[in-house]
């Protein structure tokens, strides 16, 4: 079986091949072919992942680590950088999740993107993303991970701004990339420090050195803190989460794949991957956990005030990423990855469901030829879709329930495990635990609100009234995702514990009935509270949102995302623009170039003065000669003194 691992690079190569085929194929290719090629590439990658997984599974637990060296990238003393893959439980688990979700979303996209003039580009980027993400996941060193890390950012940027004619989309893509780069500023510094501390980027030697305590804890604290800066960018944590809501400008499959299921979890993966380092820096672990927990609560709160169907999900994603980060920070890698996996399924399901709704509304709106501007994402224009789109409704409901953490759905198990992992540590973990409980309540609340607004009651717009169920190519993936959203949690359910056994055999999952009960009650409370406010009977006609009279001004603040964008705009964006303008329009022309031109002018004006000497009068010329002679005489006299 060893030979199989030598071919594991095919996991990355298949989507890359799909990208290249679609790049080279001329514009005449039929759009269907494009999607099929891309989907097949993704599926092939999934197949290869399964094979590798199986091969790894066949090994005894202690031998489940294979390093595959691909080629030497650069040798510049003291750096020797190789491109290599690390096949271990964590990376294969990630690869499986990424390729499975990726394949399904590729298929879904064939239907969703049908008719788009730039469909070829769409699938190219999607394939490229998949390849990059797999590179990130499978890399055997931090440098290659960073390469994948940046490339997924690129694809995210390209896909958010896919419909680039709309300025907002292009703007949102740029914002995502820049905010990520700010996080990566820290990541980069972390890498530099990492290299000069350990002399290598490879995981193996680094973890070994950590294990032997061959380095100072202080340096590791700094390294992990810097790495975490990258995590806050990619995994949308406070303070860098602001790009993710705007990233919803991209096509919905993109939101599902990149901005919910896979790319945004790269940060969690990084923490999990670098766990030995984080374990050496308890202070940073505390920071990570706390930031994760605060983010979870904060984003859940904002989600309550959103009207855009995808934005609610975006904030929900931020919130759920908070859970994962908190768990990973607390050292519960298994729990974090578990939640990462379940979340990938049910959040992808929710996004695709939302996509189905949007798709339906758009088509319904287009039919009557209504020229008025219409936002198919606006939940205020929906309602009553349960009857018109039953498949979508039921699958969406399953996803929402899973997200809210209702047993026995996937979210319940994974969230439960995170909460348990935070108990008994004390201090900041207890605080995080409390925050996450609050977030759980809010999660149930805003999901119920969303389902209520979208599916319950009566249609609030012409389009909603005329919406139809989406085609099978879209609903079938919904079904599959719904299935996984139900069962995914069971693989690590107490007693079974397959995932934990796979990832960290020494930590089997634990189950506390009182914890499960508490979580369920909180979820039910959230659902109940939301239903009390949003049930159709309680919602008077013409009221935008029944919560507004309850929360008054605070609700407005929630709809405005608690003014964080405005704050950043005031604190960073505008000062930056001012400084840049100042440099370009004041310092450069008047300062630096001004000094140069000023010097030239100075010489000229001096020359102009001297020029007057040549007055044209012979007698004055004679005077000049005589003065020169007299000066020389004085000089001689002075020398003779």
């Amino acid at each position: 079986m060893g030979a199989l691992f030598e071919w594991s690079w095919l996991i990355i190569a298949f989507p890359l091949l799909g990208f290249l085929i679609n790049l080279i194929s001329t514009g005449q290719t039929r759009e269907r072919t494009v999607g099929v090629v891309a989907s097949m590439a993704a599926a092939a990658s999934f197949g290869m992942s399964v094979l590798v997984f199986a091969a790894l599974l066949a090994r005894p637990p202690e031998a489940r680590l294979v390093e595959v060296s691909l080629y030497r990238w650069a040798i510049v003393p003291p750096l020797t950088a190789e491109v290599g893959l690390r096949i271990d439980p964590l990376s294969t688990a990630m690869a499986l999740i990424v390729t499975l979700v990726g394949t399904l979303i590729h298929v879904y996209s064939i239907g969703y993107m049908a008719g788009d003039p730039h469909i070829r580009r769409f699938f190219m980027f999607l394939n490229l993303f998949l390849a990059s993400m797999l590179l990130l996941v499978l890399a055997d060193n931090f440098l290659v991970l960073f390469v994948g890390w940046e490339l997924v950012g690129l694809c995210s940027y390209l896909l958010i701004g896919f419909w680039f004619e709309v300025p907002y989309n292009a703007w949102a893509g740029r914002k995502a990339f820049i905010v990520n780069r700010i996080g990566d500023f820290g990541f980069t510094l972390g890498l530099l420090l990492l290299f000069w501390t350990f002399g290598t980027f490879r995981y193996g030697p680094i973890f070994e050195a950590v294990e032997h305590r061959a380095v100072e804890a202080g340096v590791v604290t700094l390294i992990t803190l810097l790495l975490f800066a990258g995590v806050t960018g990619k995994s949308a944590q406070i303070p860098l989460y602001v790009w993710l809501p705007d990233a919803m400008a991209g096509p919905t499959p993109v939101s599902a794949l990149i901005h919910a299921a896979t790319m945004v979890t790269a940060g969690v993966y990084l923490i999990a991957r670098a766990h030995p380092l984080f374990a050496m820096a308890p202070f940073v672990q505390g920071v990570v956990t706390l930031i994760g927990a605060v983010t979870a609560l904060w984003a859940a709160l904002i989600a309550v005030g959103q009207f855009d169907i995808k934005r609610v999900l975006a904030f929900s994603t931020i919130s759920q990423l908070g859970y994962m980060v908190a768990a990973a920070g607390a050292g519960a890698v298994g729990a974090a990855i578990f939640h990462l996996g379940t979340h990938a399924f049910f959040k992808a399901l929710l996004f695709l469901g939302a996509g189905s709704v949007i798709h339906a509304l758009e088509h319904a709106h287009r039919h009557p030829g209504d020229p008025s501007p219409f936002d198919p994402n606006d939940m205020r224009r929906m309602g009553g879709l349960a009857q018109r789109m039953p498949l979508t409704f039921w699958t969406y409901g399953i996803g929402a329930a899973a997200l809210a953490g209702l047993p026995p759905l996937a979210g319940f198990w994974s969230k439960d495990e995170i909460l348990i992992s935070l108990r008994g540590i004390g201090g900041w973990a207890t605080l995080a635990y409390g925050l996450l409980l609050g977030a759980a309540f809010l999660t149930a609340f805003y999901m119920t609100r969303q389902v209520g607004m979208v599916f319950a009651g009566s249609p609030r717009s012409h389009a909603a009234a005329h919406a139809h169920e989406s085609p099978a190519v879209m609903t079938v993936p919904l079904g599959i995702f719904a299935f996984f959203s139900v069962v995914a949690g069971w693989i690590n359910a107490p007693g079974l514990g397959a995932l934990s056994a796979w990832l960290e055999p020494e930590h089997p999952p634990v189950f506390h009935p009182e914890q499960a009960l508490l979580a369920t009650l909180i979820a039910l409370a959230g659902i109940g509270a939301a239903w009390a406010i949003y049930r159709p009977q309680a919602w008077p006609e013409g009221v935008e949102d029944p919560l507004r009279p309850v929360l008054r001004g605070f609700f407005t603040a929630l709809t405005r995302k608690l003014y964080v964008d405005e704050l950043y705009d005031f604190l960073f964006v505008r000062p930056f623009e001012k400084v840049a303008r100042g440099v370009a329009e004041v310092v450069e022309p008047y300062g630096i170039d001004g000094a140069v031109n000023g010097l030239a002018r100075l010489v000229q004006s001096a020359a102009g003065r001297v020029r007057r000497w040549s007055s044209g009068y012979v007698r004055q010329y004679g005077l000049s000669v005589l003065i020169g002679a007299v000066l020389l005489m004085f000089y001689i006299l002075w020398m003779l003194r």
Partner: protein
């Protein structure tokens, strides 16, 4: 006792007068005469030094100076005549079209 120093002082004074004259007079002819005065001041110095040192070279040199001065006069007067024909003036201050 009249020494070489006296002669040299006299010639220096003459030279100075000539130089100042060059600066204060406007008539080109007079200006030129001032230059001649300067040349002759030098001639005086040569003769005096020659006599003082008992050398002939200095006296000989004066011949050269005189000859050169004469040639100079020839050139100079011709120029002034030419200019007078064109400009109807010999005032050097009016000849200042070239400047800057």
């Amino acid at each position: 006792m009249v020494t070489l120093t006296h002669y040299l002082a006299l010639s220096a004074i003459l030279f100075g007068i000539g130089a100042v004259g060059f600066l204060v007079r406007r008539n080109a002819l007079i200006v030129f005469m001032c230059v001649e005065l300067m040349l002759n001041a030098a001639g005086l110095a040569f003769v005096a030094a020659s006599r003082y040192r008992g050398l002939l070279e200095g006296q000989l040199t004066v011949f050269f100076v005189l000859t050169v001065a004469a040639a100079e006069v020839a050139v100079g007067l011709a120029l002034m005549v030419a200019i007078f024909r064109t400009k109807k003036t010999t005032n050097v201050d009016e000849l200042s079209s070239l400047r800057g």
